[in-house]
Symmetry: C2
Subunit: 284 residues, 2 copies
Amino acid sequence: MTAAGEGPLALICGGGTLPVAVADAVIRGGRRVVLFPIRGWADPALVGTYPHCWLAVAQVGRFLHHARAEGCRDVAFIGTAVRPPFRMLRVDWEMLKLLPRVWRIYRGGDDHLLSGVLRIFEDRGFRVVGAHEVAPQILMPAGQVGSRGPTPQDLADIERGLGLLRAIGPYDVGQAAVVAVHHVLAVEAAEGTDSMLARVAELRARGRIPTPTGSGVLVKAPKPGQDRRIDLPTIGPRTVTEAARAGLAGIAIVAGEAIIAEPHAVAAAADKEKVFVYGIGKPP
Amino acid sequence: MTAAGEGPLALICGGGTLPVAVADAVIRGGRRVVLFPIRGWADPALVGTYPHCWLAVAQVGRFLHHARAEGCRDVAFIGTAVRPPFRMLRVDWEMLKLLPRVWRIYRGGDDHLLSGVLRIFEDRGFRVVGAHEVAPQILMPAGQVGSRGPTPQDLADIERGLGLLRAIGPYDVGQAAVVAVHHVLAVEAAEGTDSMLARVAELRARGRIPTPTGSGVLVKAPKPGQDRRIDLPTIGPRTVTEAARAGLAGIAIVAGEAIIAEPHAVAAAADKEKVFVYGIGKPP
């Protein structure tokens, strides 16, 4: 994957520090990287020191032109993105031809949106690779990150959360739930994980949660059938602070099928906030 | 059920207008009713004109004493309740003996909580009946309430919402979801329906919902295996205004297995807000 013979990697970059973590790992492996940061999402201070070309959301034509000029054949997507309001899309000529197709994609769930986007690139001769395939360093490891681990009760809550996420998988809904002492407190859909954790914090402040502060687990897992190349669940230091603010005991996320941003900062935040961060290993 | 020979009905009353709707229906059927309004939930102005005895949450002993003195053998629960913070419970002697059991109940999900509460009354010689069994007038009818009905797209969204609710049933989670043009926008857990609708309204205001205003359905259904005597899903005029504020096309709720409070006000609100309210009939 990191062989220089495959040409430079085009890296379409959303927000956060993951894009440069991936870029650094690929460069260390001896491969050239061209960043395509998305305006409004990517951090100019982080991406500015790499070869790069800014894009607006949906500027497919501009991407194709520059990526081909750089000799890129592989493209990966990494970093935080928010589903943009349709009016924010900057439509270029290439995109205009795609609009009827994009509109159909856009009306579906997230899975549908993402796999539709991937096909657009593949139809134009690019190979879409997972950021974790070119930079496996970003994958969540099995076991605990930081000095705490789950209790047997937490492990039971994790099991229940995973079962719930499997059950809702066919409905193309969120990738996370909060379970506290067998009680399902929240299920994520369009609002995203941070917003779901804020809701749990508010419910707790209003006395609506029967279990004490320091109980409950945020469980995250990839959706069944999800395209792993573009939408793996991700945690970072902010997830840890939000989970602590929601009064949870910890966070559990499927190891090897999820991304951890800034693992050292995650471990430090976990210890400071007295929560666990746990990579769920595959059953033997 | 309404035979006077069975003695008066003890009606434990939460908030809203449903308790007096049930009381009026039972009285019209020729049976005496004794109201046991819960302090902080029931509306004193509404319950004050009926024979009544105020209770604090968890005053089981006080209920048993007065209900027996009135000759009640049947007890029904009706009206809105919020899961109270544990510190708010007023514990009397009868309750004190039950505390270890209540604590176990309290740690479970809502189903567990409610069926545990029912058993406490049954063990003491009462028969717990559903409010809709003694006052079937409060059940949601099949078909539309108000002048609007669902479109074929809305019917498809309703089908998807019902499937999702069936899938999460075993996890003792909420009874409602919002689906818009195939896209699951929200799943209810501990926050309750009103709070979930407020979330959808906020997501829409932030441009995070891809489908236009006036699309999407709030779907409510009883949980599989839920004890229908005490926790049927309920809609009222406020549900209609909240659904309209969330930009939805309408509300669908399983007919005959859900309660509609103030049906005339619901129909008026639905027409004013231009949303549909639809009772999902049983499949033939």
